[in-house]
């Protein structure tokens, strides 16, 4: 029983980080119908930011968080300005192709600049600390990552729902033409959303840097899982992505523990297929 409790806790912690990666992706995907293949690589850049601030200046990851988020946000913004903007009206999968090329470029640029070595942020305020509640062990880095993820998702959701700019994003997601007729500067909306997506994944990268190695391919698996999570939650649905992330985390830990750890991602993919048989547009999609 305590094993199951431990698994559930672990699943939620693991899943909440997935959620945060996915929330950034779903924003862009829902708004522009663009699959950003380089999303995981934005995260990798933010992890490196955290790492170098730690290695060179001994900054704690929590201190570097705003900087890493800013860096990832800027990369998102630049990606929009330099690449996405020009392929917005291109047929079907062109944007995917562009972001794939970008992903390849970023990954190898990271290798070129920082070598392919696996790095870790060795010491931080959180590292090695843990809570023990009866038999259940909760690592503090994971707990903070999960809380940060929930906080960030909440902030993004509130921002979209409550602010004027958030409403402009919603309107643009419904229909670009109509939003423009209503006086929304859709260009600005797109740019900002890409930046916001970058910030989300930047925060995710920071929170992960204490528990996951930093190397040029860091973002690859998270990026892949994020695709599935976004689709599971329903494209463009922030809370959908959040809950889907948790669900995948739980499926991975509980399914993996009982059915074989090597299957943990296969189980996550299976969950996607099963759930969508009943909700063909994702958990929260219509």
């Amino acid at each position: 029983m305590s094993m199951l409790a431990q698994l559930v806790v672990t699943g939620v912690l693991v899943g909440s980080v997935y959620s945060l990666v996915a929330v950034g992706l779903t924003l862009v995907w829902g708004l522009m119908d663009i699959i950003n293949f380089a999303h995981g690589d934005f995260m990798m850049i933010s992890m490196y930011t955290v790492f170098w601030l730690y290695a060179l200046l001994k900054w704690d990851p929590l201190v570097s968080l705003p900087i890493a988020a800013f860096v990832a946000g800027m990369i998102g913004l630049l990606t929009y300005k330099l690449v996405i903007k020009r392929v917005l009206n291109a047929p079907g999968l062109m944007a995917l192709l562009a972001t794939f090329g970008l992903s390849l470029f970023i990954r190898n640029l990271a290798q070129f600049l920082w070598s392919p070595n696996y790095r870790f942020v060795g010491e931080s305020i959180l590292s090695g600390k843990r809570l023990i509640i009866s038999d259940v062990i909760v690592g503090l880095p994971q707990l903070v990552a999960a809380l940060g993820s929930i906080g960030m998702t909440l902030a993004v959701a509130l921002f979209i729902k409550k602010t004027k700019f958030g409403k402009a994003i919603q309107a643009t997601a419904q229909s670009r033409e109509i939003a423009e007729l209503m006086g929304v500067d859709t260009e600005k909306v797109y740019m900002f959303t890409f930046a916001l997506s970058g910030i989300c994944v930047g925060v995710a990268g920071t929170l992960l840097s204490g528990i996951f190695p930093v190397y040029p391919e860091s973002g690859a698996m998270y990026g892949l899982l994020a695709f599935v999570i976004v689709a599971l939650g329903g494209f463009g649905n922030i809370w959908g992505a959040f809950y889907a992330g948790i669900m995948i985390g739980l499926a991975e830990t509980i399914g993996g523990f009982y059915l074989g750890t090597q299957f943990k991602y296969a189980i996550a993919f299976l969950i996607y297929l099963l759930v969508l048989q009943f909700r063909p547009k994702g958990l929260f999609g219509w």
Binding site: G122, P213, Q262
Partner: protein
């Protein structure tokens, strides 16, 4: 006049001969997930090239003392690098390109056994020697290839070495190790190592396998894997993991307070000096086979000198797998030198019969058996103390006594 011309021609041809470059292909994962190791190996092979082509009287190696290969009029050796990205298709294509287009006379590589397989198949097809350094899958030397040689001990040998070490700990230190768990990555490297454990444990009846934990390639976390291990309460854990996942495991062992008596690692992540850099004191007490360790440098001046050159390029001390690939470069060059020609058959003859000097290994020599496997195991058991890989076994190389007990994580 005509005489002069003739002399000139002869002279010129000497110069040309003297400057002839012998190309050897070196195929490694220089990009992609295993690039961290591949790039280090590249530095090591470059060091080998410098040693062969330059004059290093302080290094007591026959090829170090003269520039180039003395038996081939001082011909220089050039290692032509190619990147297989961890993809067997590319390993195969690059092998063929190097042989046909770059006219390499021999090949070394490919780190990952899955890439060494098709690449050495190509060498076999063209009748060109292939010397693998660190690829450890036992299957490689079980294929009956004529042109394939391997320096590293294969995972079958490593496994036997592991069990013998455990036996030694039980006998000498009353370690009372019985329960063994094997934890491995779900690819050719890990799966094959685990297979060897299941096979060899039959010869060591005092041990029982209590957990078999396989985790997917590019895992985002290893939480449940560690919980499975913890539930099995092993005395010894065998790890076949790369540096990234290995580091995550150690962090989780600490978090979940997993305290086995020994953790032994196959040639992989543990041997990477980054392991200690990343984990600091948490890396202490982990153990594994290694072809070398900085602790041995003091005892082995040649190794120390090689490491100096390597460290200047890479910034870290040379590690086991890297040294094995370094050795492959030296061995093939020496074989060509002894053959006195680049004719493949002659080189093959030398590789088959000659015992190569290898003062940088604890075994000090390399000799290939009929299957192409190096019969002198180059490995020692190492264990980390205060961030240093100390040699703990066999006793004649010992730089530190083994500690067959993990202290509690809180008491470090």
């Amino acid at each position: 006049m005509r005489k002069l011309l003739a002399v000139l021609v002869v002279l010129l041809s000497f110069v040309v001969m003297a400057q002839e470059v012998i190309k050897i292909g070196a195929i490694f994962p220089l990009t992609g997930a295993a690039a961290a190791t591949g790039v280090k190996i590249k530095y090591a092979v470059e060091v080998a090239q410098e040693i062969i082509n330059g004059v290093y009287p302080e290094i007591n190696l026959s090829l170090a003392k003269s520039a180039g290969l003395p038996n081939l009029n001082g011909a220089k050796v050039q290692f032509v690098f190619a990147d297989h990205q961890g993809n067997p298709e590319l390993a195969m294509a690059e092998a063929e390109r190097l042989i046909r287009n770059e006219k390499v006379v021999a090949l070394i590589g490919c780190y990952q056994s899955s890439c060494t397989k098709p690449a050495s198949q190509i060498a076999e097809k063209y009748g060109i020697p292939f010397v693998a350094g660190s690829s450890s899958s036992a299957a490689l030397t079980e294929r009956g290839l004529k042109w394939f040689f391997r320096i590293a001990p294969h995972d079958g040998m490593e496994t036997v070495f592991f069990f013998n070490y455990l036996r030694y700990l039980n006998e000498k230190y009353n370690a009372n190790i019985k329960r063994v768990a094997v934890v491995y990555i779900d690819n050719e490297y890990g799966v094959h190592a685990a297979l060897m454990v299941k096979e060899k444990i039959k010869d060591f009846p005092e041990f029982s396998l209590v957990a078999d934990v396989k985790y997917p390639v590019s895992a985002t976390n290893v939480d449940i894997e560690v919980q499975k291990i913890k539930a099995a309460k092993p005395d010894a854990i065998f790890h076949a993991s790369y540096i990234g996942d290995m580091t995550m495991f150690v962090k989780k062992y600490k978090e979940f307070n997993v305290v086995p008596k020994v953790v032994l690692s196959y040639c992989g992540g543990y041997q990477d000096p980054q392991f200690v850099v990343n984990l600091g004191k948490d890396a202490d007490y982990f153990a594994g086979t290694n072809a070398t360790t900085p602790a041995l440098f003091a005892k082995m001046p040649i190794l120390s000198k090689i490491n100096e050159m390597y460290k200047a390029k890479s910034g870290v001390d040379i590690d086991g797998p890297t040294l094995e690939d370094f050795a492959s470069a030296l061995v093939i060059a020496e074989a060509i030198n002894i053959a006195g020609t680049t004719e493949p058959e002659k080189i093959l003859e030398v590789l088959k019969t000659h015992t190569f000097e290898a003062p940088y290994f604890v075994s000090e020599k390399i000799k290939f058996g009929p299957d192409g496997q190096n019969i002198y195991s180059a490995s020692v058991m190492t264990q980390i103390f205060n961030g240093v890989y100390e040699a703990v076994w066999p006793e004649q190389y010992q730089t530190h006594e083994p500690v067959p007990q993990f202290p509690d994580w809180k008491k470090r």
